[in-house]
Symmetry: C2
Subunit: 341 residues, 2 copies
Amino acid sequence: MKKRPSTITDIARALNIAASTVSRALHDSPSISNETKQAVIKMAKQMDYQPNMLAVSLLSKRTKTIGVIVPEITSYFFSTVISGVQDMVNEAGYKLVICQSNESFEEEQKLIETLALNRVDGFLISPASKTMKFSHLERLRTSGIPVVVFDRDCPGFEADRVLVDDFDGAFQAVEYLIKTGCRRIAHIAGPKNLTTCQHRMDGYAKALQKHHLSVEEDLIERVEGFTSEDGEEATKLLLNLHSPPDAIFAINDAVAIGAMAIIRERGLRIPEDISIVGFDDEPYSKYFHPSLTSVWQPVYELGMLSSKILMNHLSSEIDNPHYRYELLKPELIIRKSSKDL
Amino acid sequence: MKKRPSTITDIARALNIAASTVSRALHDSPSISNETKQAVIKMAKQMDYQPNMLAVSLLSKRTKTIGVIVPEITSYFFSTVISGVQDMVNEAGYKLVICQSNESFEEEQKLIETLALNRVDGFLISPASKTMKFSHLERLRTSGIPVVVFDRDCPGFEADRVLVDDFDGAFQAVEYLIKTGCRRIAHIAGPKNLTTCQHRMDGYAKALQKHHLSVEEDLIERVEGFTSEDGEEATKLLLNLHSPPDAIFAINDAVAIGAMAIIRERGLRIPEDISIVGFDDEPYSKYFHPSLTSVWQPVYELGMLSSKILMNHLSSEIDNPHYRYELLKPELIIRKSSKDL
DNA sequence: CTGTTAGCGCTTTCAA
DNA sequence: TTGAAAGCGCTAACAG
């Protein structure tokens, strides 16, 4: 019962014409009689013909497929980026192959290789936190497969990049905390290797510096993951300091939520005793109690823009001479986990 | 500079041997001299040869790719299912093409068609809420492409199904509310068309009935989406009743969170005045205030099991005579948004 | 052990 | 307007 799908040759045979004629009829080529064309179309329908895209791709050398590699799919940030990408490329008839690296360099490397073997036309990549060398991406350039890097930069690897101004986001957040009277502002930082985290750290430091506050090592805790549990652990350490912070700027909302839980557990008030600011502005963040002040990022736009740039490469025959660098602006959303001005 | 990737023929030419010999060498076939084999391998490396999977797939009629179609990727539920699928199929060397239907029948139909044209080996599908007929899935069966339906059932379409016992989950939740003294238990229900929502509704009704409480139409609000905003709207209506509920069983956690926000806004206490129970047990749910009582589902396992069943089909030559039906058990996680026993 | 041939399904010359 | 032939990159059957 698993019958072989019908091919263009089957149609040709059934109609006693050449396969090439069938092909022409199906693509309404100019040089075809209306008569045969109709006959072919009718027969194609009758035989439930479906073109085999593998054969088409093999011939055309284009699969109309884009490989998307993200550290994880289960986060609001990346899944929303993907939505943006999806909406952008759908109209152009591109498919998406979405893969997660689980923050592992090896998996990322393997995924890229597999997708390249399967001849995706281009890549959209946000590198894993463990990725420190980019030879695997360099190879793609050598093979002439365009790559757009998004959100997380790859220092030393030249490519189109669409990033968020994490420095500015962090700066806005921390400066706001300072203006509302906080003086001992802690930072729960993310993996050292990620440019996003580095830039947020830099923004944090810069804001302190601008307002003549010193950057104290004690007040900086680093987490390796991005979960609320990580946030809990870091916050415990911060609260145990002989002189605990009066504000925490967390690397993201999930971590901030964990921090809030511990702070409440210790009987401290938010924001009276400790202010909290997160990063990402996840959909849930406004529903926490108190609602979470957070740095919003143009996530959907990030996906749209990255894929638009990639598709420009794909549709233009010539190799672009220079790489684009786009920096999207985040915005501080003030809620109740921080004090009023 | 966009140089053509080297092929098996290139290697053959360079070594002055036949393409088939190269192929054999690269697959360490038994009938090949170690000498030529080494030479081929060396040359392949030197020329940076990468097999073209399109050609391989065209020949073998298998792409080692599975199409995954979910309503949306940006939800904890589906993205976690996908993680489970990913982890399961990776070992078997299968790739995933992940697509979202955005709850639209038309998009779902189109996605299935496109993936079929691209010859995915099998499908993992959770249908859109708007999908009411399954002719597009029926077609897949006709073409002999195996399909496993997960989470949301397709009534009238025979296939392997891996579902969660939503009836039982809802029953547990509502019975618990009754046992803690609630008597006017409202239900914020989801789209009528979804079997998951129907079953939760049935479980709700059955629990009431078992404890001799009547099912009141007034106490049932239906939402079309699954967002917190939907939950807010529904809750406003419920609280405006002349005799408002003393508990709300929400179709999922996001809706429950919206409900909590409105309840607090009205100055009512949770759970003293109104108990709340959600469904999904999202990672954040325990961090809300009060922490949310919710029905946990074995989401990751759902992904693992569904893909395992699919892969069984793919590896066995014979058409399986009967379809499997798996029902996974959910579990009520009791927290602080409901009263103690 | 190796080469030749054929063919997967399709498109695109080149003739007719 | 149509057909025949070649070939995309690869594998497998058959000779030798």
